[in-house]
Symmetry: C2
Subunit: 484 residues, 2 copies
């Protein structure tokens, strides 16, 4: 691999230039006015793929629901069809979050700049154009170094990731029966390290159930002077019901909810205690208000245990009146983050039963409704699989550090979609750092992370090919998806 | 008085024309762009006064705080200085709520129209240009009928009532020592009947204490996936504290708060049971959700007992983020309506002690602050006073119905200001109906209420003069203000 690594360094300018071209296209999926730019970005990727001999195509996803807009296509690319090699599905996305100089960016977010400290500044450098184009760079470096690409690759690049991944799951299910039928493992490069100083690999994500609780009283908002004491007030019901869900120490009060939680074993705790995460990594500028004393307890609480957050309590009557009014309709919004081995269905039943019973005990004359508007499972992957072992070895080879294996508290529905639909091991392999500010102003990617990331992806493919041939007999193709 | 009544009917066109001129001036006090119109309205009133021989002047109130705007002046007018007659201070206001045809008005709100059913349609017809100009009409009718105006009148017309009455209290205190030193009683004509079918007089109003509870956690909103379980969440504290204040049956949970409430006597309840209020009057289109079964219990709960309403629970961090975030700073807004004989200071102490003790029991690591941002006392007037007796007799004379004597659940700070500063009996004498839609689109005043209102004001002055001379010996001038 030394030829490969040397070639990556040699081609630095070319790789930065490719990123510059990609950053220049403001492919914001959330704004209709930028939809043509998202399509332009897809075309740019196809052109780059074609120049490298990658067989690329655009897979249309139809119309965006309730609009006249075409959904951005999936960019599907295939490189290599050697039946002796493993086939890796690489997922990334080519759309970006909105950005404008008026939001407070130091420089034009659509013009890649290289800062004095060597960071690459621009919207999409870290999330996710940098990682996406790094895959193309990797193939180019293999080609230029005269080294055969060690694995077959299928690229699946999405253009709607920052806007709800509309249409992705259904199309994935269709493609899974045809163009993706021969996938051996999945590599997602849309995450970052757990901390800023040490490379890591993500093996777990929490699930999420998002609820809207609506309590309806009178037909319209009423004056609290004239009607206070007369009307039953939905805000009282909502505040009381919301406060029955969780206490101020963070403990979830829904009966039975902790029963499904997989115990944090002593060895797991020990592993968490050795993670390379500083206090600053764990609490990046939030200023404390921590429920836990130690870093390990904090990490366990936010990634290996469930949590329940109350997000909003809102007057839901259109044209809501003065602040002194009695709101006639109030919505409370809350979510529960779930972990292995909680069943989303069971959690949902517990929550609904709890709210029903609490509401009954209020003796309110209002009406209440609880809707679970979003439900996605947790993700907890088998790290003994060759896919993860390859990623560990590649990280060690490139960064000269044993990577941390972490669980993240957030939820990445795509990881679960890929897991559920393809039934293969899904790896989350990061390139950038949490400090890159993926969705913030002044998004950046450190140049060492970009270049080492290209090396990492190549090294990963190399390790995959070595481990895969060794494990092929033990782990037959097409093993069943874990129950999640 | 028959000559007077006949003259009112005879001058109907002139009085409607006067109202038309007043309505035409969009004297919206809340909009800086209309401040000159508020001044124009003050000038119009002065001109009308002068034409009727009323000695009028504009009393400047200085600048509106934190602006370059001049506050609208008080229009102070004096008619008659006969030492043998009682002197009545009449309060009304000449500014109005905003209005625009785009809000959904059937017709131009600044162009008085007479509907097919005889209602007078336009912004300010009921609140409060109709009642204000009715006083000038009354003087004109006395003059034209050749009947001496039975009482000395001092008019105090405000131009900032719909925008917080800025500057009013302080100026009132200054004037009380000079131009208002000889007042015998006060008549406020800025209310409506309790119901739509029967005339009434208001003798009580609730006080109000308005609170903002702020709980502060982290320095900024955080992602609930990444930080749920890690951070202490202010929304949880606020929901729990808010729900500790009142239950879903409307009972206030602050210990000791009911101790100061004056008992509703059997005779008071009996009087409430005979009020001419229909179910529709009590619940105008709110669609039920009533905490009480009977109309009497409803009226008692909303006007003779305290209530506590939770108005808002808001993310208070500027630029608050996504709905799935953990809000870093949350504000709860609530108010308590107080009644006789509750002490606002004592209630405030009970609420602060309660929140302090509840917050402590939460064991939260956040910080909490409770601020009482507004505090005004309840108002409960002596209805045996000649001022109220005169109003009762006048209403009977004009409407041929014994008026209901009611308490209102709302708070009118002006009533209390006048009571506290002048130390005289303060009467609330309505002209219009609740269905007039004072602050809504299509504000109206029924023509019979306008004309009978003019008659009512004249009749009231007549009754005042009769009762005053009879009571003069018993109730010396300058008796002390009730302790409120």
């Amino acid at each position: 691999m030394d030829h490969y690594y040397a070639k990556v360094d040699e081609l630095e300018d070319r790789f930065i230039n490719r990123l510059r071209k990609g950053i220049r296209i403001p492919s914001i999926s959330a704004y209709a006015s930028h939809r043509s730019d998202v399509f332009a970005m897809a075309e740019f990727i196809i052109q780059e793929m074609t120049a490298l001999g990658i067989e690329g195509r655009l897979r249309p996803l139809g119309k965006e629901p309730n609009t006249d807009l075409d959904l951005p296509p999936l960019v599907i690319g295939r490189y290599g069809k050697d039946p002796k090699k493993p086939t890796i599905l690489v997922y990334s996305h080519y759309d970006v979050q909105p950005a404008a100089i008026e939001d407070g960016w130091d420089r034009n977010p659509w013009d890649l700049t290289i800062e004095a400290d060597g960071t690459l500044h621009g919207r999409g450098t870290s999330d996710d154009k940098g990682p996406l184009l790094a895959w193309l760079n990797a193939i180019e470096a293999f080609q230029e170094a005269g080294v055969e690409v060690p694995a077959n690759l299928v690229f699946c690049f999405e253009g709607m990731e920052e806007n709800g991944s509309t249409g992705f799951r259904q199309t994935l299910e269709e493609e899974a029966r045809t163009s993706l039928a021969d996938i051996d493992a999945v590599c997602i490069t849309d995450t970052t390290w757990g901390g800023n100083s040490h490379p890591s690999i993500t093996r777990g994500l929490r699930g999420v159930l998002f609820y809207i609780l609506t309590v309806t009283g009178a037909k319209r908002d009423a004056h609290s002077g004239l009607f206070g004491g007369h009307l039953s007030e939905p805000m009282t019901d909502v505040a009381t019901l919301m406060s029955s869900l969780v206490d101020s120490t963070g403990r979830i009060l829904v009966p039975g909810i902790y029963e499904g939680v997989k115990e944090v074993s002593n060895s797991e705790r020990a592993a968490i205690e050795t993670l390379h995460l500083s206090a600053e990594d764990v609490d990046p500028g939030l200023g404390g208000r921590n429920l836990h004393d130690s870093i390990a307890d904090t990490i366990i609480a936010r990634s290996r245990l469930p949590s329940l957050s109350l997000h909003r309590i809102e007057n839901a009557m259109p044209g809501a009146g003065a602040v002194t009014s009695i709101p006639a309709k109030v919505q409370g919004k809350f979510s529960i983050r779930t972990v292995a081995d909680m069943s989303a269905e069971h959690v949902n039943r517990l929550v609904k039963d709890h709210i029903k019973s609490e509401f009954k005990s209020l003796k309110s004359v209002n009406s209440a409704e609880l809707v679970c508007v979003h439900k996605s499972n947790w993700f907890f992957e088998d790290v003994d699989h060759w896919n993860y072992q390859a990623a560990k070895m590649a990280t060690k080879a490139v960064w000269n550090k044993e990577p941390d294996i972490t669980c993240e508290g957030g939820s990445i529905p795509i990881a679960l979609d890929l897991k559920e639909v393809l039934g293969k091991n899904v790896l989350l392999l990061p390139m950038g750092k949490p400090s890159d500010g993926a969705h913030s102003i002044n998004e950046k990617l450190d140049k060492p992370n970009y270049l080492n990331g290209i090396k990492l992806f190549g090294s990963y493919l190399n390790q995959v090919s070595l481990l895969y041939s060794r494990n092929d007999a033990i782990r037959p193709r097409g093993f069943k998806a874990a129950e999640i």
